[in-house]
């Protein structure tokens, strides 16, 4: 997946699953959109669907500090490199 494809899919998830439309890519999601820890866990489930692969507990914990769409895209890129293109 390209970066743009990842971004498009994440924005689609935010629209359909979280009813957050067109967030700025650097918005602090908690402060601006009330995106909370429950949403973060739900998002990880959506990312697993996107990757068609299960994330490990350690991988999920890495995501807990993420605050923006750009950071989410970075995270998905990183996980895709492991889960979609295993060495």
């Amino acid at each position: 997946m390209t970066r743009q494809e990842i971004q498009d899919k994440i924005l689609k998830i935010f629209s359909e699953e979280f009813e957050i439309e067109n967030p700025d890519l650097d918005d602090d999601l908690r402060d601006v959109h009330e995106f909370d820890s429950i949403d973060a866990i739900e998002l990880l489930g959506e990312i697993e669907k996107l990757l068609d692969s299960q994330l490990t507990q350690d991988e999920k914990k890495q995501a807990m500090g993420i605050r923006t769409i750009n950071q989410i895209c970075d995270y998905v890129e990183s996980m895709a490199s492991v889960h979609l293109n295993p060495a």
Binding site: E19, E34, I38, I41, E42, G45, E48, Q54
Partner: protein, 411 residues
């Protein structure tokens, strides 16, 4: 210090309607909300009782996702009646979020629909399915899900009580809320209960031989409290809520006062978990009367628990006879909608308030021939014009829990 406690708003979602007008029309016209049990691939073919008190109309739940995400069906019901009650009171958000308003609200076991989904994941044997248990599934299914979804939605910061005592859940909510305001711990309490459509609850009562099975093809003819042909309870769904406020607070802000709560009792039979007990029920009535500071002959109307089980109705009639004789009118409102479980006490309170305001008593539906063993009390068998000054709502639960609530017309 004991303070007076008044009811300033009420709302219910019931199998016979949602708005006050619909519910009153249902009571006046003898409408039954009992329908055929919906198909359930996991359970339905094994259940002998094929009837359910069903909410089969659309409700316009207008909740934002940030609230919806932690709600199972039971919390939708609870938050809807809570929203309606808060809107009716006109209480300002400064008060609602001040810590002076608390919530007493419960269900019999959270959301069984969500719980079933969790159990499916557990039993799938698949790690992918196991991981599919949602982050919010516990929040939707926990016992206090109704109470805390309400506090979240309205920013309520006062105390939370979430009784879960089966059929006395919401009568305890109202009773404990009443005591909380009466003794000055909160200035107002939003109280009630809810339960969602659930065939597993039917299966449980079915296995205990407590459910109605003789009227599967004519659901509207069951349940039949106090009738010779009664054959058990009918499980139902719904929600009920009332706002309780300290009298002076309500008066000063010009609130519309519907009635005063004057007494509450809760006790236990101290023994059998299932069989009803006339001594325990009689004691609950007596304690409630003493708590209300009235004499038995002042009670005009008894909203009986009256589930239409073989023994339960007889024991309740015996207890009523023992304390009240045949003076107060007695109706069993579950005859209209089945047993709405955790919601029943609150729904019966709301319906009693409506009848108190409108000056009538609805008869027990399907009471065609009174069982001789229940005949010693004053049954209402036809729509009755009656000015109710004092009414009591009686509820009894598995585990031997009994409650009585007493309300007085506000004059």
């Amino acid at each position: 210090m004991e303070r007076r406690v008044v009811i300033t708003a009420a709302s219910a979602i019931t199998p016979i309607g949602h708005t006050r007008e619909e519910i009153v029309a249902g009571l006046e016209n003898g409408v039954s909300g009992v329908k055929k049990l919906r198909e359930d691939v996991e359970l339905a073919e094994f259940i002998h009782s094929q009837v359910f008190g069903t909410v089969d109309y659309d409700i316009d739940f207008d909740f934002k996702r940030k609230y919806r995400k932690t709600m199972g069906p039971v919390a939708y019901y609870a938050c809807q009646v809570a929203k309606e009650v808060i809107e009716k009171t006109g209480l300002k958000s400064e008060f609602i979020t001040s810590g002076r308003l608390g919530v007493a609200f419960g269900s019999i076991h959270g959301s069984p629909t969500v719980q079933r989904g969790i159990y499916r994941c557990f039993s799938s044997g698949s790690s992918r399915e196991f991981a599919a248990i949602g982050a919010v599934d516990y929040l939707k299914s926990m016992v206090h899900t109704t109470a805390v979804n309400i506090t979240k939605m309205f920013g309520i910061t006062g105390r939370v009580i979430s009784s879960s005592t089966a059929c006395t859940t919401s009568s305890q909510s109202i009773g404990f809320g009443y005591e909380t305001v009466k003794y000055g711990l909160q200035d107002a309490m939003l109280c009630g209960g809810a339960d969602e459509y659930d065939t597993a609850t039917v299966a449980v009562f079915d296995n205990l031989l407590a459910c109605s099975t003789d009227f599967n093809d004519t659901p509207h003819l069951t349940p039949r409290p106090f009738d010779v042909r009664r054959d058990g309870l009918v499980v139902g769904e719904g929600a009920g809520a009332v706002m309780l406020e300290e009298y002076e607070f309500a008066r000063k802000r010009g609130a519309d006062i519907l009635a005063e709560v004057i007494g509450f009792a809760c006790n236990n039979n101290g023994g059998d978990m299932i069989l009803p007990n006339a001594r325990g029920v009689s004691a609950a009535i007596r304690i409630g009367i003493d708590n209300a500071g009235i004499s038995p002959d002042e009670v005009d109307f008894i909203c009986a628990h009256a589930t239409a089980t073989k023994m339960g109705d007889v024991v309740e009639a015996q207890a009523i006879d023992r304390i009240y004789g045949d003076n107060p009118y007695v109706s069993g409102l579950k005859s209209y909608m089945g047993h709405t479980m955790a919601a029943c006490g609150a729904i019966e309170m709301v319906l009693t308030l409506y009848m108190m305001q409108d000056g009538f008593i609805a008869p027990t539906l399907n009471l065609d021939e009174i069982d001789k063993r229940c005949a010693m009390v004053r049954h209402v068998t036809g729509l009755l014009e009656k000015n109710i000054r004092i009414a009591t709502i009686q509820n009894f639960a598995f585990g031997g829990v009994n409650t009585t609530l007493f309300i007085k017309k506000f004059e």
